[in-house]
Amino acid sequence: MEILTSLIKAILIPVVVLNFIPLLIWMERKGAAYFQDRRGPNRANIFGVRLGGMIHNLADVIKLITKEEFFPAGANRFYFVLAPFIVLFIYIITTAVIPFADELKVGDFVMSFRVADLNVGVLYIFSMASLAVYGIMLAGWSSNNKYSLLGGLRASSQMISYEITLSLSVVSLFMVAGSVDLNEIVRNQTANIFSWNIIRQPLAFLLFLVASFAETNRTPFDLPEGESELVAGYHVEYSSMKFALFFMGEYAAIVVASAVIVSLFLGGWQVPFLATTTLIDNTPLLLNLFGKVFSIFSIFAGLFLITKFKKKKYRDARDYEVLTLGIPAILVGVGAGLFFFTHYLHDLPAWAGPVFTATLQILVFLTKIFLFCFFFIWVRWTLPRFRYDQLMSFGWKGMLPLALFNIFVTGIFLLVKP
């Protein structure tokens, strides 16, 4: 039984991260488009269904798989192939210690919502993420291209510099929570929003945020790519699925970084103002409430989609896309409404409370991750890139002293306050 549950978790959690990737790519394209006052991808379709540009990802996949695999002259083949695998693999295994919900307890059965219960907790994430730089360095070196090499060199020096700030800014959280275990840190923050670490440790949050932008090589720290100077940095010479692995690795890194930030600073799986025990005790009430809210929301969403219907807008199957989505939404909403407004659920079985709580917590956690991923995209299309010397002096002369100062202040507070 235990082996089975851990196997399911070990498969499901990476799948969640991988499923975030196409969603984020879509969000990045649409986000970029609307930031720049245009519409973004809206042409690729299957029988007229475009899903607001989502189908474009499928077209991308087909394109990337069928492209020619290119090896530059003088490249070291072994490392050239190995490098993209390292990047994606490392970021996916870092999710092993991230808790997706509180422990599920039904009678004797206890299950935690993460793959591995390691004693070292967050340190595991840092130690694994520090290996991701090998993928980028090897890609830069093995391509036998000077732009790639420069990108790899930049990536390594940047990641080493910001890793120190990243690790030091979390030390103050360890001091507050009294543990390095991610689940304990989340539990210590409680369901009250005002005791989340973003309120208790604002400086640590800022430092961690900036450093994780640098670690994921996102703008304003995307110097390893630096299109305007280095063409595309470390992956200039990559094509086909090997390039796609780098692309996926970048978004997997964003998902992992968001999950870690949400767990450390934004309460992780904590539902705002609803603690685990409160949720389990009041399951029937909440379940009925959510059912009613869902049915009303679904009806209104369906109505909104139907109002967008206009005949001969595109003069093809795309005209009816909103109807195919809107009418089922209304029907589902009406069905759920009929059920929840006439019945009141009570006498639920013993497992219903914990399972409902865990489901709600997972959903809340995923929503938080999703919102934070949007923040990553938002910053990318808003801020310009740093210059290289600015990046280095900012990391060593600005962030590092601040992180040390934060630890010092936290220590004094903990000493004074009993």
Binding site: Y79, M128, L138, L149, S156
Partner: protein
Amino acid sequence: MSLIFFYIFATFSVVSALLVISFRNTLSCAIALVATLFSVACLFALLGAHFLAAMQVLVYAGAVMVLFIFVIMLLNLGREQLLKIHMSFLGVVGILCGTYLGVFLALRLGTLSKPFPELTPSQVSDYGTVHGVGQLLFGDYLIPFELTSFLLLVAIVGAITLSSPSPVRRWRTPSPAGGEGKKERL
């Protein structure tokens, strides 16, 4: 189960350690060293020393080796610059000593493997955890620990002093292209 993993990681670490000294390409040597460090960290984890394993990967594989590879990539040695393998008297002596050590260990392995000393209950529950290692470092071994960090600080200051041009020399010999002061302002 853990015995199987032990044999896997032990074999992997020995093989990659041999590769470190047998590759011609310096970058391959460095990558093999990373693999060695990683598999030794896995062995630490199998022994229950999770904190040590995480630190091994974080510090050695994740930071020190990255700087090694950084330097190797910057120098970018060509094939002809790499040393040629040739037999020397010292090499022959080394091989002979190594063979002797190997035979000695193989013969004495049965008698050398004594059981580990029994741990006290408090040591067992805390063994290898963040808490246990922290208690030792900041309790029993506080002074050696602080002295080590002071030694590292001295090393850092020394490295910076050696690598940066001395202020006296820079003041006496202005650079030919209009002086350094102007350059710095730019």
